[in-house]
Symmetry: C2
Subunit: 352 residues, 2 copies
DNA sequence: TTGAAAGCGCTAACAC
DNA sequence: GTGTTAGCGCTTTCAA
């Protein structure tokens, strides 16, 4: 009895007891195997495997197939509800297929993101989902391309959930359309002086949302007024303060909800009431906005759906069953709550 | 030239060029190896490895050592800022040591949590961090124990960041002390009728926070009044409504911030102003509370620190360098903001 | 201080 | 349909 130390059954144990070769056992037990096996044999192997409580060793499999059954998701910040929702959607979908999800939060630092990419490609994760938008920066883009090539070289797949210069399979939300929707909502209420609090300048997502805003204003011959936040609460508060230094506007379109929260608190700090003195529209519809006072009008992005689609896409790509367009667009919608109203002429003329 | 298909250098490439055996190369390049190697040899190997851009294959290593360089973190809900912060702290600490972090969010469903544990033990992650508290339920506890034994059997380690019946290495925050702090703050302001919105009944964390509340009240000969939420915003709103059916109290201690947000919105919905008509204290100090109106008084739990300590603990356990006590307590503190004030006698007597 | 040899558990070629 | 053989890239005895 030259027994192995460990008590857990391995493939050869199953094979021996089922009186087949390991190969055949593998062919039966490996869901990816296409190889034909006689039904009687198949049943026998399955029965033995079950009785032994056999479970394949993912590490051995990974070494052989050069790929881990894990999906990684790269986010700018896990504590941003937008990304947290995406992560939730992605992990649920992954675990349904037996994949574990590695979450990498770059804290909005491109170098950290790049380091994570390095780790990920080294550990040969099967798929990498880029949840956050890409930077418009040559050095950054080049570095990402190198890592992407590495990942592809071992059969790994890449999916983007936000606009990136690289033409990857993508599940995107309509940033420009959403921004237009938000701006037009304010326009319809009668606002004419509408400011924008935009995201980080180099980010594609910011650019697209700003485009939507500008397009809507231009159509009505109105002038834009822009301050830049960082897609963070603090950034939103700062940008609001900056805008307020040159008052005159009666509404603000804020390019994400986190910044809208910051903007809201800055307005409150100054005693400017929303929506009677100032209208505010956010973007994303992160959970909890309806618990706010005033509840925030915003553009709903299907975040969890985006995450789940990202995973589904990666898995389809891996199994070679991905059909259809490279870029899939997820539509967004306007959710009107309490932070927008018709402009109060009187108040808007008063110096704020 | 019977070259391998892949271009990436492997250990034997380094060994050959450095004119040593793979064994020696491994001993030099593997940070865990204690084996002595002559300094000249060591330098040579290191130089060759660097020039080749050699990177060890984690999968081969994992197969051999029976362990993956990954830490898993089990949370109740990634979209709860409390857990998101912990995840952030944990992943940053892990990546510093070259570990990737797998995030498993159970959506507060014990069965889902158990399924994740199964997946994790099967893939032999090096460490599992339980961020959420354990359930007081025999079947659940038994199932967890089985998985825990499995994980330990291959050398994996377990760490708890919230109270669990199992006596695992833990990094805990002082739930009972914090609850006492919160309740005493209300007492000092002059409140005498203080209600509690508690978390899920079977959760240890809920129990401990409730104990602190009861202890503080009992010391003053006051009677508790409790409604149960689910540690969620919705649950908090519901519990608040429930309490309001039997008014008379002037302050509420809410056992976590998510529920406090819900409670706050329910109060606002009914036109009850905070803090003039009702004082509110939360627990956790999740980011963003200072942007609320009124900004929430709460108990600060060092969430990111907890996550980082959890990872550090797991890594220390893995390397056998863990010294000191099994349970480490992280202190909490009261953060007074705007949601608490002296009770307005007049208003408290009015039927709400 | 170094190296040879033997796998970790699985799957891919290739033959039959 | 099934089996044989040969590794994936690393670490670990064991012997020198």
């Amino acid at each position: 009895m030259a027994a192995r130390k460990t008590l857990v059954p391995i493939l050869s144990d199953v094979a021996r007891r089922a009186k087949v070769s390991s190969t055949t056992a593998s062919r039966v037990l490996n869901p990816d195997s296409q190889h034909p096996v006689k039904d009687a044999t198949r049943q026998r192997v399955i029965r033995v495997a079950a009785s032994l409580g056999y479970r394949p060793n993912p590490m051995a499999r990974a070494l052989r197939t050069r790929q881990q059954p894990t999906i990684a998701i790269l986010v700018h910040d896990v504590t941003d509800l937008y990304f947290a929702e995406i992560v939730r959607g992605a992990t649920i979908a992954a675990s349904r297929s037996g994949f574990l999800t590695i979450v990498c939060s770059s804290s909005r630092d491109p170098d950290t993101e790049l380091q994570y990419l390095e780790m990920l490609s080294r550990s040969r994760v099967a798929g990498v989902i880029f949840a956050g938008g890409g930077l418009e920066d040559e050095a950054y883009k080049r570095a990402v391309r190198v890592h992407a090539a590495n990942i592809r070289s071992y059969g790994g797949v890449l999916v983007a959930l936000a606009p990136r210069a690289d033409r990857w399979p993508s599940e995107l939300s309509d940033n420009e359309g959403g921004a237009r929707l938000a701006t037009e909502h304010l326009l319809e209420l009668g606002h004419r002086e509408i400011a924008l609090i935009s995201g980080p300048i180099k980010l594609r997502t910011s650019y697209e949302r700003e485009q939507g805003y500008r397009a809507a204003l231009t159509k009505h011959g109105l002038k834009p007024q822009v301050a830049v936040g960082e897609f963070t609460r603090q950034g939103g508060a700062r940008a609001m303060a900056e805008l307020l230094a040159k008052p005159g506007f009666t509404a603000v379109f804020v390019a994400n909800d986190a910044m809208a929260l910051g903007a809201l608190s800055e307005l409150r700090r100054r005693g400017i009431t929303v929506p009677s003195q100032m209208s505010l529209v956010g973007f994303d519809d992160v959970p909890g906005l309806d618990y706010l006072h005033p509840a925030l009008t915003t553009i709903r992005v299907p975040m969890a759906e985006l995450g789940a689609s990202g995973t589904a896409r990666a898995l389809a790509l891996l199994s070679g069953t991905d059909k259809g367009p490279r870029v899939r667009m997820h539509s967004v919608e306007l959710v009107i709550r309490e932070s927008t109203a018709v402009p109060s002429q009187a108040l808007s003329l008063v110096a704020l």
